[in-house]
Structures are given as structure tokens and as C-alpha cells.
């Protein structure tokens, strides 16, 4: 025991810690830089970059670190690169860590919901802004445990530097054991030193998790919750948060946070007057001969649609009829094979000569033209509060100051009846509330057109009305141009000026809402409507 303590405090061994840490730090820092490059190459849209990165990964993940160390130390000098031992070890460790770190980064990036990325694109974020504001903050949070793992393994792997004469802890221990024959006391001592070092890394990891925990601000989450013997059921957390929040969502239309009072229904006279006004308005969206195929299937088959300023169009039709694809083409979230789309007279996604624009240029154009989009799955940025979901894009895309953006966000949340939940995270909101925040977010930049892709299909039946109420007010009170794909026939009847019935990527029938819905001329439309009529309950969640 006394020998063990003697070796534990021996300056010779303690001095080895410094080199161990140096090699580890070089390996991790270099590995992170290399890993970032590798991950970027693999995610790039150029296939040859990703092929190079794949090749590197195969080689450096597939060969033992000990060989790489010896290579960096003994082989590089033959081509004129004679690195000091510590640097050679750091280089080998970095090259070895890089593919692992790259895979972590890639998993983190790919783990961010695709929907949030589509939402960011629809808001006009360039790929760089999207990466920095939406993907990275979420990816980093999910990567911390893996990165802690990697750091611990790098620290232990640094002991292999002993084969290339780096006087780190392990080499010092074996040398000392050879000269003193106190084999076990020495290795227990150096083992304990390694434990202390790896323990410190675990501590840093837990502290970082605590610091970046989004629930830390919404609910008192103590550092102690992270201790291994504490059990915090992550699933109950949203409920806890809800409990602390004011009561909500009791009955649609009556709940305290609903946008009071409900919009009234238009009388036939008012409707006629509205139709006449719209007919004189400019064209907001013009879709001509739009065609798109997925493999064999025609998703859009020479589709034509014209929408005038202030008009509300409901797209009806069975699943797979092309409603969503049409909406995604209008703001160029998807490419198409033939035809043109003009928004406000501009050909979105192409320059004056008709050449396709880069993703960055398309993003800027989206922001300028102003096409807002609301998604079936809400697609709120899950790491941002309701207010930040609205205010963030205003700052990052439209260059608003924080004060202006916050004011606008509060104003819009108030309009959708959610000012009291401004600081809540999306996961602490009900589906209906999330969709209302998403609508506020889409409205914030004052879009000229708002596209709504089955905005209520993912909602529980009792939450549908609060969202429809918001949309109804936008149509009637604000005169916003909207294209809504929906299964809510009654809602379409009340709110839409015109309905278009899609099937097989074409418009089978279109016309004034009330007329088409009560007197369909096309037999397919008639059959669809009678099925929907028979099934009065709202569309179940798909």
C-alpha cells in the first residue's frame, strides 16, 4: 500500500500525465478538424468528395492505431517529414479519431428531422444559416455523449504512443516496473491516474449536457439529476412542464388561449362581392404545364393553376394525388421535370436565362418573393422556444434587429392566441399550439402567398378547430393569398373561394368552392366527396 502511494505521488509518473494529455488533446483537436472536413465531404452534393472521404475512412478506421503511430513516426521521415514524437503520436491519433468523429458528426446532422430543414428552407434560410442556426445546435446536443465516449477512448489510446518513445504515463510505468520490479504497485497507481483523468472527462461531459439541456431553463433541472443513481423519466418532463403552465386546450373555441372571437361566416352577398374583387386582382401564383415523375409514377402531369392575390384555394383529392408535391414545387422545395412556376411574376429557382440557381441563391429568392409554408407535421425548430421560432428567422434571413424581431414575434403569437406560451419549447406544446406557432412563423416575414400542406391532418380531432379558426381569420380578416391542401370539406366550403380537385397529378375539376362541393360534375370528384361525406369524423392522423 505504501509503495502504491509512493508511486501514485511520484513526480516521474505525474509528469507523464502532461504528455498523455498533450497527445490526447492533439488527437482530439486534430481529429475534430479532420472529422469536420470529412463529414462535410461526405454530406456534400459532389459525389467525388464523398468518395474520397469514404476511402479515407475505410483506411484509417480499418487499420490499428499502433500501426498508424509507427507509420507517422518511422515512415514519414523517409519522405522528409520528421515530426517530434509527441506530434507524430498526436497526428496518428488525430488521423485515427477523425473518421469516428466524422461519423458522429454525420449522425448528428442526419438525426435532425428532415421536416425542420424543409421548414428552414421554406423560410428562406441559406444552407449556411440552416447549418448554423438549426442543424448544428441540435446536432451538437445529441453528439455530446458520443463525443465524451470518443474523448475517453482517445485518452486511453494515447497510451499506444509508448511504442514510439513518447514518455507518457504508460511508457513511464513500464520503464519504472522494469527497473524496480514493483510491477503491480506501479500499474495500480497508473491505472488510478487514468481513472481520474477519464473521470474528469465524464464530469466535463455531464456538465456540458447540463449546460445545453433545453429543459434547464423551462424547468429547474439540477446538475444532480445527471448523477447515475438519479432517475429522471424523460417522458414525464413535458407533462411536468405542462402542469406548471396555465390550463389549455379544454374545448376548441372556448379555451383561454384561442384567438377570440371566432370569425363569422360570410353571407352569400358578401361572398359574391369578394369573388368580384378577387377577379380584378393581379395573378399571385401561376403554374403552367407542371410535370414531375418519381421513377415510373407521374406525380404531376401537366398541371395548370392560377391563383389571384387575396384568393384562397383549397386543393382536394385523395392521398397521392399530387397536392403536397404541387405545394412543394411552388416554393421550389422540390424540382420538377417540365413546366414553369411563377410567383408574383417571377420565375422562382431560375435566373433570367432560365438556368437553375444554386441552393443559396434559391434561398435568397424565397426570402425576397415571400412564399410562406405551413407543414402537416408542424416542423418547428425543436431547440427554440415558440418566440424564437418566429423571431429567429426574421433576424437570420431578413436581418431584423433583435428588438424588432421580438416585437414582431410577440405580435404574431398574440394573433394566434399563444402569447402566454412564448417561452415554451415546441415539445411542451400541444399539436394544435405547435401548428399555430408554425403559422405565426410563416406569417412573420409578411409573405405574399401562404402555402398550407394539410395543416390539420396530424392533429388530434379536438385540436383541429383551433387551427382552422386561425386560418379562417387569415382568409376573411386579412385577405391573405392562400393555397391549402386539406381533407376538411366543410372548412373548404366555408373558407375557400375556389376548390381544385386533384387526381393523378392533374386538376380534374375546379371552380367556386360551394358550387363544386355541392354539385360536382366529375364522377371521380363526386365519389370522393360522398366518401368524405359518409365519414364525417375528421381525418385521422396519417
Amino acid at each position: 500500500m505504501s509503495l502504491f502511494l509512493h508511486y501514485l505521488s511520484l513526480p516521474y509518473l505525474l509528469a507523464g500525465i502532461e504528455l498523455t494529455l498533450e497527445v490526447t488533446a492533439l488527437g482530439l483537436a486534430g481529429g475534430l478538424i479532420l472529422g469536420l472536413i470529412l463529414a462535410w465531404m461526405q454530406l456534400s452534393r459532389f459525389w467525388w468528395l464523398s468518395a474520397i472521404a469514404r476511402g479515407y475512412t475505410v483506411i484509417f478506421r480499418g487499420t490499428p492505431l499502433i500501426l498508424q503511430m509507427v507509420f507517422a513516426y518511422d515512415a514519414l521521415p523517409h519522405i522528409g517529414i520528421k515530426l517530434p514524437a509527441v506530434l507524430a503520436a498526436g497526428l496518428a491519433l488525430a488521423c485515427n479519431e477523425a473518421p469516428f468523429i466524422a461519423e458522429m458528426l454525420r449522425a448528428g446532422v442526419l438525426g435532425v428531422e428532415r421536416g425542420q430543414i424543409a421548414a428552414g428552407q421554406a423560410l428562406g434560410m441559406t444552407p449556411a444559416v440552416l447549418m448554423r442556426r438549426v442543424i448544428a445546435p441540435q446536432a451538437i446536443r445529441t453528439m455530446i455523449p458520443a463525443f465524451g465516449n470518443e474523448s475517453v477512448s482517445a485518452l486511453k489510446n494515447s497510451s499506444l504512443a509508448s511504442v514510439i518513445a513518447v514518455q507518457e504515463l504508460t511508457l513511464r510505468s513500464t520503464q519504472l516496473a522494469s527497473s524496480t520490479f514493483d510491477f503491480f504497485s506501479i500499474f495500480f497507481a497508473s491505472g488510478l491516474i487514468y481513472l481520474v483523468l477519464t473521470g474528469a472527462i465524464s464530469g466535463i461531459q455531464l456538465a456540458l449536457e447540463w449546460l445545453l439541456d433545453l429543459d434547464r431553463t423551462s424547468r429547474e433541472r439540477k446538475l444532480a439529476d445527471y448523477l447515475p443513481w438519479r432517475r429522471v423519466d424523460l417522458l414525464t418532463k413535458p407533462e411536468l412542464a405542462e402542469k406548471n403552465a396555465p390550463p389549455i386546450d379544454v374545448v376548441a373555441g372556448l379555451e383561454p388561449d384561442s384567438p377570440a372571437p371566432p370569425a363569422r361566416t360570410l353571407t352569400p352577398e358578401e361572398r359574391a362581392r369578394r369573388t368580384a374583387t378577387i377577379a380584378r386582382n393581379n395573378v399571385a401564383v401561376e403554374v403552367k404545364d407542371l410535370s414531375k415523375t418519381y421513377g415510373q409514377q407521374n406525380v404531376l402531369d401537366g398541371l395548370n393553376l392560377t391563383v389571384r392575390v387575396g384568393e384562397v384555394i383549397a386543393l382536394l383529392g385523395p392521398s397521392g394525388s399530387g397536392k403536397s408535391t404541387l405545394l412543394r414545387c411552388i416554393n421550389h422545395l422540390e424540382n420538377w421535370d417540365a413546366g414553369t412556376v411563377r410567383v408574383g411574376g417571377r420565375r422562382l429557382g431560375f435566373d433570367d436565362d432560365g438556368k437553375p440557381l444554386s441552393p443559396r441563391a434559391i434561398a435568397n429568392e424565397r426570402a425576397n418573393v415571400g412564399v410562406g409554408m405551413v407543414f402537416q407535421q408542424f416542423n418547428l425548430f425543436s431547440h427554440l422556444t415558440a418566440k424564437e421560432n418566429v423571431a429567429g428567422p426574421l433576424r437570420w434571413v431578413h436581418g431584423m434587429t433583435r428588438i424588432d424581431a421580438d416585437r414582431r414575434a410577440r405580435e404574431l403569437l398574440d394573433r394566434v392566441g399563444l402569447s402566454h406560451r412564448a417561452d415554451a419549447l415546441p415539445r411542451h406544446l400541444s399539436g394544435g399550439q405547435q401548428q399555430r406557432v408554425a403559422i405565426a412563423r410563416a406569417l412573420a416575414p409578411n409573405p405574399s402567398v401562404l402555402l398550407l400542406d394539410e395543416p390539420t391532418s396530424a392533429l388530434d380531432p379536438e385540436l383541429v378547430n383551433e387551427v382552422l379558426e386561425v386560418i379562417r381569420r387569415l382568409a376573411v380578416d386579412d385577405g391573405l393569398t392562400m393555397i391549402i391542401s386539406t381533407h376538411q370539406i366543410r372548412f373548404a366550403d366555408e373558407v375557400a373561394d375556389r376548390v381544385a380537385f386533384l387526381s393523378g397529378g392533374r386538376i380534374l375539376e375546379e371552380g367556386p368552392a360551394h358550387e363544386v362541393l355541392s354539385n360536382p360534375r366529375n364522377p371521380v370528384t363526386a365519389r370522393f366527396l360522398s366518401v368524405m361525406e359518409a365519414d364525417k369524423t375528421p381525418e385521422p392522423v396519417r
Binding site: Y73, T174, S178, T180, F181, F183
Partner: protein, 300 residues
């Protein structure tokens, strides 16, 4: 080698601590000068003849796991001590260079030299034809191997012979004893006995631990290393026998630096002639029979 006893007396006179501290510091500064004086007289002529390394600091790659030859000093682990270490310093003093040390595994000694990460290897390495393809050797010591076994020699091992059949031998990767044991495989087969097995480790300590843990039956290595192991574990280990091995211990130098090889050989010859090499053997408790006039082993 007068430096050493002198150091002992300095350490002994405790009451004059402060003055002595100053003296040690002063001695530290003066050490190179006094060393010069201590080196054999012809060294001055050698420095004139081979001026290229004068005032330089060279790197000596060692596998510091062989107490007596090279290991860290248990009292001050920041220093390496042993016969090879002293011999290297003496050669350095004679030619006017200093040495720093690079600790590597035994198998990496010659690759380290070949890659230019070290200038010289003085690490109880046996000069063989095979190794001479990677480096030139200046031989300086005869080789006697000891056969280390567990106390009581339960397997009755009595040399590198058929008594090893069926035994497990622990050896360091790259040691010359490895092919010697391997050569017994067909002989044992022919005699209708089980083959000997080899366990390859990285350093002496691991080989000795293999016997202590009952994993290996024997470890055949330089006799002084074996004696040191027995000294450390007198209740558990013993030396079965000492055997002669047809090799010499050599200093390895790069093949592409014949001038350096020449200079080291000349310096070593002076150290041999002056009797300093014999004194070193005695100082480290090594068998004086190891003494050998410097020679060369090179192959093309």
C-alpha cells in the same frame, strides 16, 4: 569514471549542505571539462580527426527495461542508468558529443535508427547478420545467456536443448533467442516430444511476470538480466543454467554514416584499451568475462 565515487562523497557530507549545493551546481557546469580530462588521452586526437560530432547532442535509442545495462534510475526516474548508458556517455565524452535518450520497444530499436529518429543504439542488442542488414554494428561485449525458470525448476530445463520440448518460453519480440527456440521445434518433433511454445512480449518485466504468473516456464536472456530478476524475486525464481550464445553485443549505427561508425569504433577502442570498459563492467556487477575487444559486423 572517477566522477561516480566523487559524487558519493559529495552526497555523504551532509552538514555542509548549502556550500555543497553550490559545489554541485558548480560541478554541473564544470562536468564537461573534468570529463574531458577523465577521458583517455588519445580522445583529444580523435576529436581533431572526427570534428563533425563535437559539441553536438545525439539521440541514443534504448529499450530501458534491462537493469544493469539500461533502465531508469529507481531513485531518480528522470535518469537512465546502467553499463550501456555509461559506455555511451564515455564514447560521447571522448568524441565531444552529448547524448539524449529515446525509449522505444526492443523491436523498434533499429527502425528508430533507420528512420533517423535516433543517431545511435546502445541497448544490449546482439549483433546478428540479420540485424546487420538494417544497421552496422560495433561489437563490444560477449554474450552469456541465463535460463530463468520458476524456483525449483519444475520442468527440469537445462539449456536451449530438448529439455525445452513442451515448455512455454517467454521472449521479447525481436530477441535472438526467439529463432533459437523455434529451431527446437523440428528437433522435438523428431524426438517424439511436444513442441516448445513461444510467448512474445514487449519488455523484460512482462517476460518475468509471465513466469511469476505461471504462464511461461522459462525466459532465456542475457545472464545479468536473469541474475537481476533472481535477485528481485529470490523466493520465486532461479537461474537454471548459463549458456554461451554465438553472438556479440553491438552498438548499432546507421549504415549510411561510415565516418560516424569509424569515429565510434576508434573511441570505443580507446575506452577498451584504457581499462575503463573493464571498470564499468565491475561497477555494474557484470561478469568481467564479457569484456571483448571492439569489432565490426556489417553486411551489404
Amino acid at each position: 569514471m572517477q566522477k561516480w565515487p566523487c559524487g558519493e562523497t559529495r552526497r555523504a557530507s551532509l552538514p555542509w549542505r548549502r556550500a555543497i549545493l553550490g559545489a554541485i551546481v558548480a560541478a554541473g557546469f564544470l562536468a564537461p571539462l573534468s570529463a574531458q580530462a577523465a577521458a583517455p588521452a588519445p580522445c583529444a586526437a580523435l576529436q581533431e580527426k572526427y570534428p563533425d560530432w563535437k559539441g553536438k547532442t545525439l539521440v541514443n535509442a534504448i529499450n530501458p527495461h534491462t537493469p544493469g545495462y539500461e533502465s531508469i534510475d529507481p531513485k531518480d526516474p528522470s535518469k537512465y542508468v546502467g553499463f550501456d548508458i555509461d559506455l555511451g556517455e564515455m564514447i560521447g565524452e571522448c568524441l565531444g558529443f552529448k547524448l539524449t535518450y529515446k525509449a522505444v520497444t526492443f523491436a523498434a530499436l533499429l527502425t528508430t535508427l533507420a528512420s533517423g529518429q535516433a543517431d545511435i543504439v546502445i541497448s544490449d542488442i546482439y549483433a546478428t547478420e540479420e540485424r546487420a542488414k538494417a544497421a552496422d554494428f560495433i561489437t563490444y561485449s560477449k554474450v552469456f545467456d541465463g535460463v530463468l525458470v520458476a524456483k525449483g525448476n519444475p520442468k527440469g530445463i537445462n539449456g536451449i536443448n530438448l529439455s525445452l520440448c513442451g515448455a512455454a518460453a517467454a521472449e521479447n519480440t525481436g530477441f535472438v533467442e526467439v529463432p533459437l527456440v523455434q529451431a527446437l521445434v523440428p528437433q522435438c518433433k523428431a524426438a517424439g516430444k511436444p513442441e516448445p511454445t513461444l510467448q512474445l512480449y514487449d519488455n523484460n518485466a512482462n517476460c518475468i511476470q509471465a513466469i511469476l504468473a505461471g504462464r511461461a516456464d522459462t525466459y532465456i536472456n542475457d545472464v545479468n538480466t536473469v541474475d537481476n530478476a533472481v535477485k528481485a524475486y529470490p523466493d520465486k525464481l532461479e537461474k537454471a543454467i548459463a549458456v554461451t550464445i554465438p553472438y556479440s553485443v553491438g552498438i548499432a549505427v546507421p549504415k549510411d554514416k561510415p565516418k560516424f561508425r569509424e569515429a565510434v569504433t576508434a573511441a570505443l577502442t580507446e575506452i577498451y584499451k584504457s581499462g575503463d570498459q573493464l571498470a564499468l563492467l565491475k561497477k555494474w556487477g557484470l561478469d568481467p568475462d564479457n569484456l571483448k575487444e571492439p569489432g565490426l559486423l556489417t553486411v551489404n
